[in-house]
Amino acid sequence: MQTNFTIAALADPAMRESEKILRTCVHCGFCTATCPTYLLLGDELDSPRGRIYLIKDMLEGGKPASEEVVKHVDRCLSCLSCMTTCPSGVHYMHLVDHARAYIDHTYTRSAPDRFMRALLARILPYPQRFRAALFAALLAKPARPLVGALPFVGKRMAAMLALAPARAPAPPPVERLAIATPQRARVAILEGCAQPALAPSINAAARRLFARLGVAVVPAPGEGCCGALVHHMGREEDALAFARANVDAWTRLIENGGLDAIVITASGCGTTIKDYGYMLRADAAYAQKAARVSALAKDVTEFLSTLDLAPAPPAGLTLAYHSACSMQHGQKITDLPKNLLRNAGFAVKDVPESHICCGSAGTYNIMQSELAGRLRDRKLGNIARLKVDAVAAGNIGCIAQLSSGAGAPPVVHTVELLDWAYGGPRPEALPKN
């Protein structure tokens, strides 16, 4: 596509990168067809092609983001379905990330909007604060209708409460695991931020399974949120700070004893960590280290697929496999999780419209609760057609989102199912026999 940037504007490396991306777009429109918000709203402005055009116009003009541009960019889930569809290889993710950062710098949001975003940015990425907030949410949950009636922020606060699980998850179990011999690998597992508070059982399952398979897990002091949550809000500096902290934590391990992989059990985080190399490309002190971290980052199913797990007897359970957008579009991991589950004895069905987002998308289900709710219900409708016992998914965001819907079947993390199939406890979310 033709672009029209000034030479001065192109002096900025981020602008140069975006120009390069825009030049690869041929405006063919294929991306509109697989965009969740376009499917719901039928307005090109709420499609990747429309957003690319809005972003192009904003960046080319060097003008501050307008209310309209912000509205349509905010409605983007960053599900990256468009990137899977795009024949021209347009890197929409980097373009929209740039646009969000640009918006953050040039646009003043309304006070309630600022309040909500600051609240989320200050709580979600921090496990202690998140756990405290979750506890508060549990207490407040019965008051959801009242909260919903609050002016300006009520709808979003209510959406937040709706996502909180019905009861407090058990505190992280302390297990001493014997690592099977011979030891086959040495890895770190991302602890992250929200997941240990919402569902500590996921990483616990990964640890048990790894131990049985002879994979040693080493702790990485200083590691925390991957930065995705603030990254998607356009808070670029905050995101980079999280990224640097994690790069430091894992680099210490890499340089002291080495790491075979950095295993991630939340695909949303995985997509971001795999992008650290790009995010920190202009930071001379970090570029190389970040690229190394990105290269070691593996989704847990990617890593498990390298271990040749033995086939397990039929489990008598039929699953729908819900592929998180960050999994299938962000990381292009499509068949591996299903193959692992089938090999582990589960019957696995694909969800119709599997390429369409469930509406979770980081904080999207709080900030754009209405669209997110419609996407969730559409997804649950598609799952219901399959008549399955449970849903397997590889991302905590999707698990929380789908579980919040009315009549949702149990939604369980892939690694919990695998752990169960290979000798671990039955996942708690599954109904008792």
């Binding site: 672009t3 777009c25 055009y53 349509h72």
Partner: protein
């Protein structure tokens, strides 16, 4: 770059913009009306991005009735209308103009009914081509025309451009697969053409409207013909050392009375581009590739393939590779159908769409190469060989005005060549703005005047998609050529 002229916007309309928008706002809710400059910008072009015009406003009606009200209002106000489906036109068919309102059908994406006994389906015009087939695939049916943009393009747009696709060698194009349609005329009147039966009597208005590029009305609903899927389908890759050998093989297959479902052609550059995107196993060492698809039971496909392979061997085929799985088949077609977009990874391009008699394929390929080389550019060829519908992709740098001019000149030369060897300017993309000024190369003044009089019978004021199809300068002829 402005080689293709647009009419000067009507200042009287521009001056009444606020009033026009207020009128529209009274007819549709805010989420169906786009008025801010930032937002209108996204509708200024389609897939022919070298040309752009900011529309006066964009309306996205949700029903036929809403469309009718909008059209009646705009007609009364004397405002021009440009219909838009998914905006995937490669010919600029949906490019607006400053004094026109875009009426977009993207919110009308409902499937209204499926009838397997009568093999038909009623849909709103904004339903995508692929969504139609997807909705009935589990029951073993499909909708036949399959333009490469089928994932995104709408049935309304397909009707506007009489779209084809890879499989129309056997199944025909849009006009052969639509049974009925509801259309809103320029003044807002709603007409029903055809039905869910074959061959409605009277003048074939449906046939006239299909391919009329939004100049006769806005189609809001259509009844499409469904076909039963074959028992099996198998694409086979045939690699040839040269384009000439591949072209001669195509002529020979058809000359032998074999009509495969599809025969697609790619030259070396196209093979490289598509393989890099789709990893379909296209032979990178071949000078040209044919994708030939056969249908039927396993035995039937084997028998037909055997005959095709024998013919291909006579033309020195270097690679023959059959798809062995549904996944391979999908990859083979994904590569072909993404060819244009994938070319975008390499360079900007314009895509020509002339059709030539199949006996002229080799000659035209050779000449195309000469033409493009003459302008110092590169060309990738990927097209529907079975029916002679060429798609040379002339590659250039759109940010370089001199190159754009050369690319367009090369494109025009290629299209003239297609007409000169007995073909036509456009096989399935439509005339749009892109080929408008070449129409006199294919048609006489009398031919064009007759078409324009028919057009005027539907839209006396030339309000519907007015800058398209017909040369801008000849339009008075329509009114004055009566004897």
């Amino acid at each position: 770059m402005t080689a293709i002229a647009f009419p000067k916007p009507d200042p009287a309309i521009l001056a009444r913009r606020d009033e026009i928008i207020a009128g529209l706002a009274a007819l549709v809710p805010p989420e169906c009306l786009v008025t801010s400059e930032d937002e209108r910008r996204a509708f200024e072009t389609d897939a022919l991005t070298a040309y752009r015009r900011l529309p006066l406003a964009v309306v996205l009606p949700r029903t036929t009735e809403e469309t009718s009200k909008v059209m009646a209002f705009l007609h009364g106000a004397g405002v021009k209308v440009v219909a838009r489906g998914a905006g995937t036109s490669l010919a600029g068919g949906a490019i607006p103009q400053e004094d026109a309102v875009v009426v977009g059908l993207s919110k009308m994406s409902k499937i209204l009914g499926v009838d397997f006994a009568d093999r038909s389906m009623r849909v709103q015009a904004g339903v995508t081509n692929l969504a139609i087939s997807n909705a009935v695939a589990a029951d073993g049916f499909f909708y036949a025309p399959d333009p490469s943009s089928q994932l995104a393009c709408t049935i309304g747009g397909n009707i506007g451009m009489n779209s084809g696709g890879a499989h129309c060698l056997k199944y025909g194009v849009t006009t052969n697969n639509i049974l009925g349609a509801r259309m809103v005329l320029a003044d807002g009147a709603i007409v029903e053409m055809g039905g869910d039966w074959l061959d409605s009597g009277g003048l074939d208005f449906l046939g006239l409207v299909i391919g009329s590029e939004g100049q006769l009305g806005i189609v809001t609903e259509a009844t499409v013909r469904l076909l039963r899927q074959a028992e099996g389908a198998r694409p086979v890759l045939f690699g040839f050392p040269t384009s000439e050998a591949a072209g001669a093989c195509v002529a020979d297959i058809i000359g032998n009375g074999i009509i495969p479902v599809a025969i697609e052609f790619m030259d070396k550059l196209a093979i490289e581009i598509c393989e890099a995107f789709a990893h379909a196993g296209y032979p990178l060492d071949a000078g040209a590739l044919l994708i030939v698809e056969v249908e039927g039971s396993e035995t039937e496909m084997d028998a037909q393939l055997q005959r095709i392979v024998e013919i291909a061997q006579r033309h020195g085929v270097s690679t023959v590779r059959e798809s062995k799985s549904a996944m391979e088949t999908a990859a083979i077609w994904k590569g072909r159908k993404s060819a244009f977009g994938a070319t975008g990874r390499v360079a900007d391009y314009i895509c020509m769409d002339g059709t030539v008699p199949t006996s002229q394929l080799c000659h035209v390929l050779e000449k195309t190469d000469e033409i493009v080389k003459h302008y110092g550019l590169r060309v990738a060829n990927v097209f529907h060989a079975g029916d002679g519908n060429m798609h040379p992709l002339v590659m250039y740098n759109v940010n370089d005005p001199a190159e754009q001019e050369k690319a367009e000149a090369a494109g025009m030369d290629i299209l003239k060549l297609c007409v000169d060897v007995g073909g036509c300017l456009t096989g399935e993309h439509g005339v749009g703005i892109e080929k408008r000024d070449l129409m006199r190369h294919q048609f006489s003044e009398a031919d064009l005047a007759q078409q324009m009089r028919v057009r005027a019978a539907f839209d006396e004021g030339w309000l519907l998609n007015p800058a398209k199809v017909f040369p801008l300068d000849g339009r008075t002829i329509a009114a004055t050529s009566a004897r």
